[in-house]
């Protein structure tokens, strides 16, 4: 495994008003590493990954992505966002654009790629997520699972170095979870650096290099998946795992 860090978070803190959402987060992500973040709702896991591409602003500490320190400078933020793809819980496809237009928008406007090249790449990605036949439909005509796969392809169209997944399967009907996870697992096997907020413990076991458990804004425990599930050390981790694995 390569050893250079692509994301470094040092002493990151964030407050919503008086509420301390993230406290003293230290996280180091190596190139090609796959990290699964879990924890009870409200524990700050989504906020954590949303700080990495500045969808949320952290108030204390440093975040360095690919050697670029995140500041208020718009150029800086855009440089980081170009390297970091994101997939949301609610897909957030653009409903007024076709699937193909959704995929080519950022390459054309941000990377100034010729339209033809962008479309070629987009069709390649749609084949990879197994829905090339939907290219000219609108998002509203697709099922949830298909939409989420399009969202993954859309993020990949920018050729990002890092992918962030914010509960990508939580809004899906159960029978569609697998088709999305399959795409994610494939992506992981190709060596993409991934941080994934999810409760899909099967996915964590299959691909994660490290599982992080967060509670009340802190990283409580982190370990390799085998060890994490077999021998959780912290009481809070044990309680949480007890709750979700019962049903899982």
């Amino acid at each position: 495994m390569a050893t250079n860090s692509v994301i470094e978070m040092k002493g990151v803190n964030k407050w919503y008003g008086q509420f301390h959402v993230l406290s003293d987060i230290n996280l180091d992500v190596k190139e090609g590493e796959k990290i699964v973040v879990c924890g009870p709702s409200g524990s700050g896991k989504s906020t954590l990954i949303r700080c990495i591409n500045r969808l949320e602003e952290h108030q204390k500490g440093d975040i360095v992505v690919h050697g670029v320190t995140l500041t208020n400078d718009v150029k800086n933020i855009e440089a980081i966002r170009r390297e970091v793809g994101m997939v949301f819980q609610s897909f957030n496809l653009f409903p007024h654009l076709t699937i193909l237009e959704n995929l080519t928008l950022a390459p054309i406007w941000v990377k100034k790629m010729p339209k033809k090249d962008a479309e070629e790449i987009a069709m390649g990605l749609l084949k990879r997520v197994r829905i090339p036949e939907q290219a000219n439909k609108y998002p509203g005509q697709l099922s949830g699972g298909q939409q989420q796969r399009v969202a993954i392809a859309r993020a990949l169209a920018m050729r990002p170095k890092i992918m962030l997944f914010d509960e990508p399967t939580s809004a899906l009907d159960p029978e569609m979870v697998k088709e999305v996870l399959d795409v994610m697992i494939e992506l992981a096997k190709e060596g993409m650096t991934m941080i994934c907020v999810t409760h899909e413990m099967g996915f964590a076991r299959a691909v994660a290099d490290r599982v992080i458990f967060m509670d009340r804004g802190e990283i409580v425990e982190q370990n390799e998946p085998e060890e994490f599930f077999a021998h959780p050390k912290n009481e809070r981790t044990k309680t949480f795992l007890g709750q979700i694995l019962h049903h899982g």
Partner: protein, 426 residues
């Protein structure tokens, strides 16, 4: 089931007879019960009675040609008045021999509006159509157009400026430098012109006899006020709405203040301010055409209302749309133009067209400051003592013309909604 049908197949039966055809429809919708049947009959009778009374007055006993108002008395509607006065009602005090000019101007504007209505035309061609259409319209109306050198310099500055920012990082270096040079020429030229170093050259296009705006009247005035008022108010309203949602307190404050101020006063008071008070603040000697001042007042007023409607559309978008655009590194202008506005505007088409219709009719308030719009010329047609005493006919006629415009806008709104939502309905 005793029927020996293979599983998975279903017998297709025709629907019951009384549910189809005209009789079926009437039975279901008009006479489904005693109460409904009686209501239907009473309403039909009432409508027929009103309609027959109106037709008796407007058609059967009406006078269509008459030498003067006297000949009309004692009969039904006096359409002879409209026949006699229609040219004044449509074109006001514009020189009588030259009425073909406002007529062509109206047709040009109509052609311009109809061609921009089609969605397939929404590209670069539209800009050309509007530039050419506007030029023809005003050349016909004024007869003489003079463009001062400051006008050209301002255009160069604005175009160069827009090109510089919009094409930065997109176009080739040569192209961007071209835009920069254009903006620089405009800026330097304007400064030189203000310092009186550049002489006051102007380009005069003399096509017909000059007709000043004071003589304009009727339909062209209403159409110019409405078309150009709304054409400028729309982008202006978009900017105000975006400004109101800005994170920068100063911009936000200015936009909120402006919107609240303008919305808080009647259009009439704004028109009077533009016509009476504005000249007091201007240095003596400079005059701004009354017509232009009224147009600016309409733009400011409509802009504030349009801004609030568009803000509603912006707020209706889920936060995820903004975040998704941000996450893919789109810049603010890209995000706004490509993602946010297309969706926000779609949502607000019905209230937007509603406002457009409202302002089309509200332009008639300019009669307060002595501009002869369509309703005002119709009103003036009644002043002739030979034809005194037939206001109903004139106002009905004016109402009919307004209705034609407003109803087309309403239908267009419907078309636009369907057209823009093709395939995107969830």
């Amino acid at each position: 089931m005793s029927d020996a049908m293979p599983t998975g197949e279903r017998r297709q039966l025709a629907p019951p007879v009384d549910h189809t055809g005209v009789m079926g429809w009437m039975r279901r919708n008009l006479f489904s019960s005693w109460g409904n049947g009686i209501t239907t009959i009473v309403l039909i009778a009432a409508v027929a009675w009103l309609l027959s009374g109106f037709l008796h007055w407007a058609v059967f006993t009406a006078t269509f040609t008459a030498p003067n108002g006297q000949a009309c008395r004692g009969h039904g509607a006096c359409w002879a008045l409209i026949h006699e006065k229609y040219r004044y009602i449509f074109f006001g005090s514009f020189p009588y021999q030259q009425h073909w000019r406002p007529l062509l101007a109206v047709l040009t504007m109509l052609a311009m509006l109809v061609s921009s209505a089609d969605r397939r035309m929404w590209n670069g061609r539209l800009v050309v159509i509007w530039l050419v259409g506007t030029f023809i319209t005003f050349l016909l109306m004024f007869g003489v157009l003079s463009f001062s050198i400051s006008f050209f310099l301002t255009i160069a500055l604005i175009c160069g400026g827009i090109g510089m920012f919009a094409r930065a990082g997109v176009g080739t270096a040569v192209e961007v430098n071209g835009w920069r040079a254009m903006a620089a020429i405009g800026a330097v030229g304007l400064v030189l012109r203000i310092l009186d170093i550049l002489p006051a050259w102007s380009l005069n296009i003399r096509a017909f006899d000059y007709v000043e705006t004071g003589l304009w009247g009727g339909l062209p005035v209403t159409m110019i006020l409405a078309t150009y008022g709304l054409a400028f108010a729309f982008p202006y309203g978009i900017l105000l709405a975006l400004g109101r949602r800005s994170n920068l307190p100063l911009i936000k404050g200015l936009c909120v203040g402006f919107i609240e101020l303008i919305r808080g006063v009647p259009l009439i008071s704004l028109l009077i301010m533009a016509s009476v008070m504005l000249p007091l603040f201007l240095p003596s000697g400079t005059t701004i055409d009354k017509f232009l001042r009224a147009l600016v007042a309409v733009i400011l007023f409509a802009g504030a209302y349009i801004a609030e409607i568009i803000r509603g559309g912006l707020q209706s978008l889920p936060k995820g749309q903004f975040e998704a655009a941000d996450a893919m590194a789109l810049s603010y202008p890209q995000k706004t133009i490509l993602i946010i506005l297309p969706q926000a505007l779609r949502v607000v088409i019905p209230p937007l067209i509603n406002t457009f219709i409202g302002f089309f009719k509200d332009t008639s308030l300019v009669l307060i400051i002595g501009i002869f719009d369509f309703l005002n010329t119709a009103n003036q047609a009644l002043v002739d003592p030979n034809w005194a005493g037939f206001p109903a006919e004139v106002y009905l006629f004016a109402a009919f013309v307004y209705f034609c415009f407003c109803f087309s806008m309403s239908r267009y709104s419907k078309y636009l909604e369907v057209e823009l939502n093709k395939g995107t309905r969830r």
